[in-house]
C-alpha cells in the first residue's frame, strides 16, 4: 500500500504532446478514476505509471520512490487490462502464480495466496482450467486474482469492464468496489464510462486532450463541473448548454427566449457579460412564472422510472428535460419549464471555464 504521486507528467510523441502536464497525488488506499473520451490520454497516463510507456517529463512517485527509470517489475504495481491479458497456455492457478513464482515466493505460500485470492473471487472451482474455458466475467476475475495475489502497492485498471456485456459490467463493477474496500489498495482506474467513474471513485480526474479538466469527488464533479467539457461529459442525458447574458443589474441571466433566470447571488461585476448557461435535464421542472420558458415537445422517451422530453425553445435551441415517472405530455404539446432554484451553472462564453460561484 502506498501513495501514487503524478508530478507535472508529460508525454510527447515527436512534436505531438499527448499529455500536457498532469498533477495529482493519490492518497494511500484511495480509488482514483481517470475519466475521459477516447484519445484524451488517460490510458497513456496509466501506462506511464505502470512503466509501459516512457515518461517525457515530470515525475511518477510510488510509495515515496521516483519510479521514472524503473522497469514495470520493480514498481510494485499490478495491472488489469481491458482484454484481460491472461496467459492462454496456463491454467488459472498458473496465471495467478506466475508473478509469485518469478519473485521466488516459496511454493506453499504461493498455494496459500492463490487459494485465498481464488476464494475471494469465487474462482476455486476453476483453478485447473485454461482461460479459453472461462466466460468473460470469470476471465476478468482471474485477471484481478493475478493482481491481488501479488499484494502490490497499487492496482492499475485499464478499462477492465469494457469487454463485458452490460449486465456483467454492473456486477463486476460492484465486485471491484467491494474488493477495493476490503483490500484498501491504492487504485488508479481508467474508464470512459461515467457510471463506472461515479460509482467507483473516491475522486475522479476528468481528462480531455491531455489536460486535467477537473479533479474532485464524484459529487463535486457532478454538482460543480469546472468546465463546459466536464459539464457535458458527466451526466446522462447531458447537461443543456444555452447562450445567455447576465442582465444589467447582475441579478439574473437573460435566456435566448427572453426569460429571466434569477442568479443564486448577484453578480454586479459581470453585468452584461455573455455566458454559457448550463442546466441539467433533471433540474428542469414544469412551472409557470417569470423564470419559465415555453417549449415545444418534439419527442418523448419513456424509460419507465423516468421520462426524457426533447423540447425546443422559441429561438430554435433544443432542451432536454428529465422528469420522474411516466410521461405527462406528448409530442406537439406546449410546455412551460423553469430550472430549479440554484441549479444554474455559469461558464465563460469564451474559454468554457466555470465562473466562480
Amino acid at each position: 500500500m502506498a501513495t501514487v504521486e503524478i508530478k507535472n507528467v508529460r508525454k510527447s510523441y515527436g512534436p505531438v504532446e499527448a499529455i500536457k502536464g498532469i498533477d495529482i497525488a493519490v492518497q494511500d488506499g484511495e480509488f482514483l478514476v481517470l475519466l475521459g473520451p477516447s484519445g484524451c490520454g488517460k490510458s497513456t497516463l496509466l501506462r506511464m505509471v505502470a512503466g509501459l510507456e516512457s515518461i517525457t517529463g515530470g515525475q511518477v512517485v510510488i510509495g515515496g520512490r521516483v519510479v521514472n527509470d524503473l522497469d514495470p517489475k520493480d514498481r510494485d504495481i499490478a495491472m488489469v487490462f481491458q482484454n484481460y491479458a491472461l496467459y492462454p497456455h496456463m491454467s488459472v492457478f498458473d496465471n495467478m502464480a506466475y508473478g509469485l513464482k518469478i519473485r521466488g515466493v516459496p511454493k506453499p505460500e504461493i498455494e496459500t495466496r492463490v487459494a485465498k485470492a481464488a476464494e475471494i473471487l469465487e474462482l476455486g472451482r476453476f483453478l485447473t482450467r485454461r482461460p479459453s474455458q472461462l466466460s468473460g466475467g470469470q476471465r476478468q476475475r482471474v485477471a484481478m486474482g493475478r493482481a491481488i495475489v501479488r499484494e502490490p502497492a497499487a492496482f492499475l485498471f485499464d478499462e477492465p469492464l469494457s469487454n463485458l456485456d452490460a449486465k456483467l459490467r454492473t456486477q463486476m463493477r460492484i465486485e471491484i468496489k467491494r474488493l477495493q474496500d476490503r483490500l484498501g489498495i491504492t487504485s488508479l482506474y481508467v474508464t470512459h464510462d461515467q457510471v463506472e467513474a461515479m460509482t467507483l471513485a473516491d475522486r475522479i480526474l476528468v481528462m480531455n486532450h491531455g489536460v486535467a479538466e477537473q479533479i474532485g469527488t464524484p459529487l463535486e464533479v457532478y454538482q460543480r463541473p469546472a468546465s463546459l467539457f466536464v459539464a457535458g461529459f458527466i451526466g446522462s442525458p447531458p447537461m443543456n448548454v444555452l447562450d445567455g447574458v447576465i442582465d444589467a443589474s447582475g441579478q439574473g441571466v437573460v435566456m435566448p427566449g427572453g426569460a429571466l433566470l434569477p442568479l443564486p447571488r448577484p453578480r454586479p461585476d459581470d453585468a452584461n457579460r455573455p455566458v454559457k448557461l448550463g442546466i441539467r435535464p433533471e433540474h428542469l421542472t414544469i412551472s409557470d412564472g417569470l423564470a419559465a420558458s415555453p417549449i415545444l415537445v418534439e419527442l418523448v422517451e419513456a424509460l419507465g422510472a423516468d421520462t426524457v422530453v426533447y423540447g425546443r425553445l422559441p429561438d430554435g435551441e433544443s432542451l432536454l428535460i428529465r422528469m420522474a415517472g411516466l410521461p405527462s405530455c406528448t409530442e406537439g404539446d406546449q410546455l412551460s419549464v423553469a430550472p430549479q432554484p440554484g441549479a444554474l451553472h455559469l461558464f465563460d462564453a469564451a474559454h468554457g471555464r466555470r465562473l466562480a460561484d
Binding site: L52, K73, F81, N83, A85, R103
Partner: protein, 294 residues
Amino acid sequence: MQRRVIFDNKLLPYLLLAPQVAVTLVFFIWPAAQAIWQSVHIQDAFGLRSEFVWFENFTAIFTDPNYVGTLRTTAIFSVSVTALSLSVSLLLASLADSKIKGAAVYKTLLIWPYALAPAVAAVLWMFIFNPEIGSLGRLLNGWGYNWDYRLNGDQALTMVILAASWKQVSYNFIFFLAGLQAIPRSVLEAASIDGAGPVRRFWSITFPLLSPTTFFLLVVDMVYAFCETFGTIHALTHGGPGKATETLIFRVYQDGVVNNDLGGSSAQSVLLMVILIVLTTIQFRFVERKVHYS
C-alpha cells in the same frame, strides 16, 4: 464453432473438391503408385523390359553398406538444417518484431532468399566458399585454415547445411513474424508487470504461444530438408566429395537417373516416403501434444 454447410445440389460439393483431388491424384498418388510399382521390378538398361522381383530391390538397399552412410548423412543434414533454420529465423523474427527503424525494409530483405532458385543460391554460396575465388574461402585459407570443401567431406557437409538452412530461413521468418505479431502485446506487458525479464518472457510466454507455428515449421522444414534440398546439394557438391553430402533424396536421383537403376531408385524413394510418414506421425503424436492452440 464449426458450421455444417448443407448443399442443395448433390454434385456441387464433389465439383468443388475436384480440382484439389485431381492435383493430388496426378502429382502425388500416381507418381507414388508408380514408384511402388517400379520398386518391385527390375528394368533393363534401356527401359524395354521389366521383371517382377518381389522385394529384391529392398533387400539390395538393406545389404548395401553404403546405404547406412547415406542414412547417417541424411540424419545429420536434416536435423542440422531444421534446427539451424528454425533457430536463426526465430531469432531474426524476434528482432524484427521489436520496434526498430526501417523494419519494413529489413523484413523485405529477409524474405528475398526465398525467391532465389536453389541453383542460383548454390552459386552464390560457391562464390563465398570456393577456396580459390570465394571471398570467405580465400580468407580462411589466408588465415592458414585448410579450407576446401571439394576435398574435405565435413567441410562440404557444413557448407550444404548452411546453404540449405539459409534458403529456408526466409520462409520460417515470415511465419514466425506473423506468429509473433499475433501474440497480444498486453499479454507480454502483463508478464513484464508480473516481473518477467525479456528472456523469461520469451521462454515462458512467447515461445509457448508460438508453438503452433513452430510445430508447423518443424514438419515443413523436416520435409524440406529431406526432399527439397536436392537442387542445393546438386549444384554445390554433387553429393561429394566421395559420398560425404549424399542424402537419401540425392541418392534416389543418383541411382535412378545417373546409374539407370530405376527399380533400386524407386525402392529408395518408397523408403524415403515411409521414413517421412513415420517422422511426421511421430511429430504429430508426441510433439503436438505440447503445442498450445488457443
